[in-house]
């Protein structure tokens, strides 16, 4: 199911103001049957359709060329806005951590207001401000009550953050220091060590190779001018989109878009990222860590957004390890043998080929057995593909659950961001189920076999002896 994919997705994201909400606080004293889906951000675009009509997406551009994606939702007196830039860590350009630091500093000072004044203004209006990055994109988001007397001042402040950040020197030093401490904390976590090693092995010299959180050496070498330059180059109209969902009409949304992004300089879209090279050989990476479990990641570059085989691969992976407890991997490793709490596989499509990844974690002395089973299950699946029953079940799950994908404003906002960012067709949601239904057993099998090369897999193991 969704949960596993999302937890990985969460790892790949860095959000600044990720204050725990009520449910997240519960997490500390709650144990779930499988990974708690509800505490994790669902930015991942995995979708489908049934009889439900997909939301009516309206699209236009602001005067300065920011692409706007809007869905009107009148039921709740709320408006959600997310401004997205091609300014993720893939743009770090040899300075890992730059994209994140730049993004995080936007709320630390703007137009003479300091961080306290900014936070006081947003929070006094009852508005929720957020920001974050992943490898592809950077965003700022705002949730406000839709009453214009509350929403407008919050949106004007958001515009200020985007257009006139001050990047105060003191805040620069402090936030960089906090990122260095966060890196130290990552070194406590075997899953994080494994993830960083996995991306490095998969992507070599490609900009996806480095962690969005940066590296110690890189962070120490960053200067305030780097951040200012980064903002000037990437936080511009032609490199931006704005997604809006909420209780307003087209005219109100047009005004909103102009208020937030209308005064961004036009600038230029970021150039396309280099194509990801396929791996030449298999790699086996092992790192020692004094943990009781070994974390295992196995995979290779998978697919990009808009890939011709997207739907075939989506269905194929669903059967292998994309559907929670009912997948083949979960059945072999968790249900039949009790070796792991969480075992999964996913394709994570990005602007260029994102990873295909199989993952699990198990007691150190079971690592060999678990890894063998992971490989055997994959080999068997590559040889035979999904059977008819599995294919039908997968399609039913994906399409039958379609209404759940778009049942809240925040979920729709995330779809708009992804559809806009990756230039997916506006009828993407309308046609998704049809596209899933059309996949045959042979297509799913062939696409998967063609995509996953067992002789060129990267394996990462981090754990104790």
């Amino acid at each position: 199911m969704f949960a596993n994919t999302n937890s990985q997705r969460k790892d790949a994201m860095v959000a600044k103001n990720a204050k725990e909400d009520w449910v997240m606080k519960l997490f500390r004293v709650v144990q779930c049957h499988h990974l708690c889906a509800f505490v994790l951000t669902t930015f991942f675009l995995a979708q489908s359709t049934v009889a439900t009509a997909a939301p009516d997406i309206q699209h236009w551009q602001t005067r300065n060329g920011v692409r706007v994606f809007f869905v009107s939702a009148a039921e709740l007196p709320i408006v959600d806005v997310r401004v997205v830039f091609a300014a993720g860590s893939a743009r770090d350009d040899g300075k890992p951590g730059l994209a994140q630091l730049s993004n995080g500093l936007l709320s630390e000072g703007a137009d003479g207001l300091d961080a306290d004044a900014i936070a006081q203004r947003f929070e006094g209006l009852g508005a929720q401000f957020g920001s974050g990055i992943d490898r592809d994109m950077a965003w700022l988001s705002l949730r406000s009550l839709s009453d214009t007397k509350l929403a407008t001042p919050a949106l004007e402040l958001l515009a200020k953050l985007l257009r006139h950040p001050d990047f105060p020197a003191q805040a620069f030093d402090r936030e960089r220091q906090r990122m260095l401490i966060a890196l130290q904390e990552q070194e406590e976590k075997p899953e994080q060590i494994a993830e960083n090693a996995f991306y490095k092995a998969l992507y070599g010299n490609h900009p996806y190779a480095t962690p969005p959180e940066g590296t110690v050496d890189s962070l120490k070498a960053l200067a305030r001018a780097d951040v200012q330059g980064f903002h000037k180059q990437y936080y511009v109209a032609h490199n931006a989109l704005i997604a809006i969902v909420g209780a307003l009409d087209r005219k109100g949304a047009e005004q909103l878009a102009e208020t937030v992004a209308g005064n961004l300089p036009e600038g230029a879209a970021a150039p396309a990222l280099p194509v990801v090279k396929d791996l030449a050989t298999a790699q086996d990476i092992r790192k020692q860590h004094p943990s009781t479990q070994t974390h295992i990641y196995v995979g290779q570059p998978g697919m990009a957004r808009g890939d011709a085989d997207y739907f075939a691969l989506y269905v194929a992976n669903h059967v292998l390890g994309g559907s929670g407890l009912v997948s083949r991997l979960s059945d072999e490793i968790r249900e039949k043998r009790g070796l792991s709490y969480s075992v999964y596989s996913y394709f994570f499509p990005m602007a260029q080929k994102g990873p295909f990844l199989m993952g699990l974690q198990t007691r150190n002395d079971q690592a060999d057995e678990a890894q063998r089973l992971l490989r055997e299950t994959l080999a068997k699946y590559l040889a035979e593909g999904p059977d008819d029953k599995e294919l039908t079940a997968a399609k039913r799950n994906i399409t039958g659950g379609f209404p759940l994908r778009i049942d809240s404003n925040s979920k729709i906002l995330e779809y708009l961001s992804v559809i806009g960012y990756y230039h997916l067709p506006l009828d993407y949601l309308d046609t998704f189920s049809k596209n899933i239904e059309a996949i045959t057993r042979e297509q799913a099998h062939a696409a998967f076999k063609q995509r996953v090369q067992t002789d060129k897999l990267v394996s990462v193991r981090v754990g104790g002896p």
Binding site: R28, G124, P290, G338, G401, S408, G464
Partner: protein, 456 residues
């Protein structure tokens, strides 16, 4: 301040026009409670079954049994053998999961609205007819132990938190980790789980919560059809299990391989269910908001940005717990600052709350956020169901959820100071400090209770 007060009024006006929720309550003849909230924004429904059972009902030797049982609930009945539950929900396009806390064990499915009977049929079946095959238990308890390794053994801060709770509480079951001690998990027997199931899983110990695009009367009829035939059981008498009075400050250190030091401070506090004056619980909520309700709150403003003594810092309090609990402060110091510095800074914040009333600007900001959040929360049917189920399960009325913003709005600066003086006192304080040991890749942590698991 007029500008801010003006905003508060605006917020209220913006919200009250939409504040009405349509929530309905029913009771089946067998004692099972049903709460239905209508939300017609999308053709979906969430169904949750909440049992009044969790780690706070457990005793030494079988800790973790509630959570282990939750795992076993997916292992089959006569009518639906192991794995069928998840398979059927998946084929119906559903998402499902289950979770165990101190006061509850809950199971849920999110579905397209016409599939609600699928959920009811399966949940009613496993409420009474679980098979608990020993062979399945033998595998599943291993999964649970892996879960414990993942979440606790290999996470220095979680490990610290677990030991902190065991130090803060002597007689209250709050000292028990939800997932259970590793030693108890290793020695848990399927008959323990079976007995626990027999004792607690009955319709009169359950609350069914349904939120979504549904008609309440139709849901009631459906609930009667599937859950109505189940027999009520006599439940064990509830024991209060109150914590013995704390007679002075407590302090522990936890030494584990780690990169960063970490501090937890907890003050004994009552909760809404136990407090004699309900306003005290809401004042403690506001107090927590003053410290950590957003980026403008005192801890991020003063400790992270101002004094730069903390890299991370949080305050937490939960008024909906069933038993008296803690107001928590936790954090990581910045480079160049020690745990002692961080503790000193946090104590200074506590002292200020005791000595001076909070400013009206701060108070209004906390209230503005609470009022707005009450609207934002309605964007998620899952969240709405969670709140309703949780308060009902700890013995409060679901209406407290709707009353919450009003109650918070009524809190005064004097009341915040009053609860600070009454509860944030040294004699009710427990402090835990994580002392990092060098990370030596060759040697697993000696202190890990999981060590036993590793050699077996």
């Amino acid at each position: 301040m007029p500008r801010i007060l003006g905003l508060a009024v605006l917020l209220l006006l913006a919200v009250t026009a939409h504040a009405e929720t349509s929530t309905h309550e029913y009771k089946l003849d067998n004692g099972m409670k049903l709460i239905v909230r209508e939300d017609h924004r999308a053709p979906v429904v969430i169904s949750q079954v909440w049992y009044k059972i969790g780690s706070n009902y457990e005793h030494d030797g079988i800790t973790g049994v509630s959570h282990a049982l939750e795992h076993m609930m997916f292992k089959g009945t006569q009518a639906h053998p192991s794995g069928e539950f998840s398979r059927i929900i998946a084929e119906n396009g559903g998402r499902e999961n289950a979770f165990t806390g101190r006061d509850y064990t809950a199971y849920y499915q999110e579905l397209e609205k016409s599939r609600l009977p699928v959920s009811f049929e399966l949940e009613a079946d496993r409420m009474r007819n679980l098979l608990l095959p020993p062979a399945e238990f033998a595998k599943e308890i291993k999964v649970v132990m892996e879960e414990r390794r993942l979440r606790t053994e290999d996470d220095p801060q979680s490990l610290t938190y677990e030991q902190f709770l065991a130090a803060a509480f002597l007689s209250s079951p709050n000292r028990i980790p939800v997932i259970g001690w590793m030693d108890d998990l290793e020695n848990l027997h399927v008959t323990d789980v079976h007995d626990w199931y027999q004792l607690w899983y009955s319709p009169n110990n359950a609350t069914l919560v349904v939120v979504g695009d549904v008609q309440p009367e139709a849901v009631y009829a459906l609930a009667k059809r599937y859950f109505g035939p189940l027999k009520a059981e006599s439940l064990p008498p509830s024991k209060p299990r109150n914590e013995v009075p704390q007679l002075g400050q407590r302090r522990i250190t936890v030494k584990v391989p780690a990169q960063l030091p970490y501090l937890i401070m907890g003050y004994k506090t009552p909760v809404l269910r136990t407090v004699s004056e309900p306003w005290e619980a809401y004042a403690l909520e506001v107090l927590t908001g003053i410290l950590d309700g957003g980026q403008s709150a005192r801890l991020p403003s003063r400790l992270v940005r101002g004094a730069q003594v903390a890299a991370e810092v949080d305050a937490g309090y939960d008024l909906y717990d069933r038993l008296d609990n803690l107001l928590l402060l936790d954090g990581t110091p910045t480079q160049g600052h020690s745990i002692a510095d961080l503790e000193k800074a946090l104590r200074a914040e506590v002292q200020q709350l005791r000595e001076a009333p909070v400013s009206s600007a701060e108070l209004e900001r906390v209230k503005a956020q609470v009022v707005a959040n009450a609207v934002y929360q309605r964007d998620s049917i899952f969240y709405q169901a969670m709140q309703l189920g949780r308060v009902e399960t700890v013995g409060l009325d679901w209406r407290v959820v709707d009353e919450y913003p009003e109650r918070i709005r009524a809190v005064t600066a004097a009341q915040v100071q009053q609860v600070a003086k009454k509860y944030l006192i040294d004699d009710g304080l427990t402090v835990a400090e994580l002392v990092p040991l060098p990370i030596d890749p060759k040697h697993p942590p000696r202190s890990s209770a999981g060590g036993h698991g590793d050699v077996r």
